[in-house]
Symmetry: C2
Subunit: 338 residues, 2 copies
């Protein structure tokens, strides 16, 4: 079995999880558009690809998968999900399964305005979201919302262009600033879909923050929702999470799974205010919080390999131990000099 983790970035832990399962029998390949990719040394083979927005990206990936007899690709970056999802069939034809949700699902996740509209239309609670300065200002005047408000890119990734406005002056200035940051970073590509409506103004959610891994199989059948309570450090310098038994959020996960019919993992950021969950963001991929589930005994990489081999996956493979507290730590790895 040969697996390609595309847009692998710094997710060397995922490379290791897959290598543990495949052992000497299989190969873990990784790809990224930059040579300075932390996860490269951990893999059996690595390849530097064209930029995902480049027209040569899909032909390059098809050629790589064909030449290297890749059984499955797992994309790990939002833009890559969209690109590979559109051309899923082309990969199927050369014998490579792309483990990615349908394009409609990716579009709902990547467009944070659409995320909010979609979830709201099905009765889920979300942060109140505005996609024009005027609409937010009117709502402020009517006292329907209040500061602090979060200004962020509609097609946002990572922490680019996220500001908290605490008053009218900041709201106006940050609104303009986020637009100029979108235009000067790689966010401009996705935002071209609607550049004048590419900024969101959102209520800041209250309550305790949780991360969910909502796990479906490769045919979108629901398996489990892992609920993790997030702890903030005083200095804000690290990540710490604990798996918890929370029936409200587990139930929420199942509802989202049945509605969205995603493939594999869905990474969800949610706040619990009293007993009411408010969903902030959803990502149709392994999220940065997956290792906390893995540390608690969940083994989605193993399940994926078994599903690919048409083997049965026992519920226990995807069931977390409760109250497992873990943190992300830094280690230094030497890279070959280029």
């Amino acid at each position: 079995m040969k697996i390609l983790l595309s847009s692998v970035g710094r997710r060397s832990y995922l490379v290791k999880y897959f290598k543990e399962i495949l052992g000497e029998e299989g190969e873990v390949h990784v790809s990224n558009s930059s040579a300075y990719t932390p996860a490269f040394p951990a893999a059996d083979k690595n390849v530097i690809t064209p930029l995902i927005y480049d027209e040569g990206y899909i032909p390059f990936m098809l050629d790589y998968c064909s030449t290297n007899k890749i059984d499955a690709i797992i994309p790990l970056f939002d833009i890559d999900l969209g690109a590979l999802s559109v051309d899923k069939d082309k990969f199927e034809q050369i014998g490579t399964k792309v483990i990615v949700s349908d394009t409609e699902v990716i579009d709902i996740c990547n467009d944070k305005l659409e995320t909010s509209r979609f979830l709201k239309s099905y009765g889920f609670n979300v942060a109140r979201t505005f996609n024009s300065l005027e609409s937010a200002q009117i709502s402020l005047k009517r006292k329907e919302i209040s500061y602090p408000l979060i200004i962020k890119p509609r097609w946002g990734m990572g922490s680019i262009g996220i500001y908290q406005a605490d008053n009218d002056e900041e709201l106006k200035v940050f609104y303009k600033k986020v637009l100029s940051e979108i235009k000067s970073t790689y966010l401009k590509y996705e935002s071209q879909k609607n550049i004048e409506n590419s900024i969101l103004i959102q209520e800041r959610l209250n309550g305790q923050e949780y991360g969910l891994d909502i796990i479906n199989d490769l045919s979108a059948n629901y398996f489990n929702t892992v609920v993790k309570k997030k702890f903030a450090m005083r200095s804000g310098e690290t990540d710490c999470s604990m798996t918890v038994n929370n029936p409200i959020l587990k139930e929420l996960g199942e509802q989202i799974s049945l509605l969205l019919k995603h493939i594999g993992n869905l990474d969800v950021d949610v706040f619990l205010d009293g007993d009411t969950p408010y969903i902030l963001e959803i990502n149709a991929r392994f999220g940065g919080g997956y290792p906390f589930s893995h540390a608690a005994g969940v083994n989605l990489p193993l399940a994926i390999i078994k599903w690919l081999e048409n083997q049965e996956v026992d519920k226990s493979t995807l069931t977390e131990k409760e109250n497992v507290l873990s943190h992300k730590d830094l280690v230094i790895t030497q890279l070959p000099t280029m």
Copy 2:
């Protein structure tokens, strides 16, 4: 030999470096004011301390060092440096050496306005720095400086309250915002020294960024300067550095060492614009970039242990291999549930 790394935070790699040297013969203790401290599991013993600003901090540390027969403390957080430096003698009296520079040196490093003034007065190039909105506005009007400008806390730590202003409107808004962020975070303690002058406006430096480890022994005699070129990732999500042979910056390191007479490590952030170095910040402690020097063969923890034992330290112990490229990677570590 028993070493205490205080305010250890997420520096588990330093714990490991010291443990490798001390082996079963010695002990590495760590302290922090929060139980959610990533480096705790790596140490032989850990202790949760009062907040550094609490009047009980120094008595607590004295008591801990005395009870546990700690030979040396190495503080790793800016505020802790200042606190322990002031009371160095009290620790000496109970047989614990504090490996920290003199208070004057700490003050120059922690106050970024003083850093700039001090270095400038000795002829070093620094980012032009203003500590009032008016003075920056006048200089802008005279076209002595131009946007982008960086607004940041004068007694800043980590990434709290750092903004880039690209125009007059942003400059005014961020100036106010940084002040309110200082007042609402732990930066307020240091900033009380001069709260109305606790915000800096600085030119954004151009050129290639480098990190220096300027290494003195425990009597402030100069040993070596390790020069590391910093690489930015497209996504800004990781750190990557390479040791390089750069005579200009090595010479700069020696000059700073002779002038400042710091103890142990001095972590310096510097930009090379053509052949002209511009110093951005200096920290009188192990910085986040030390592991890159360690990966290149420098072993300052070993040198410190030898110095403490009055042994000779060979130059080679503190000499880097050139062109060693490393990056920081993430691993997940389980913590005991509290």
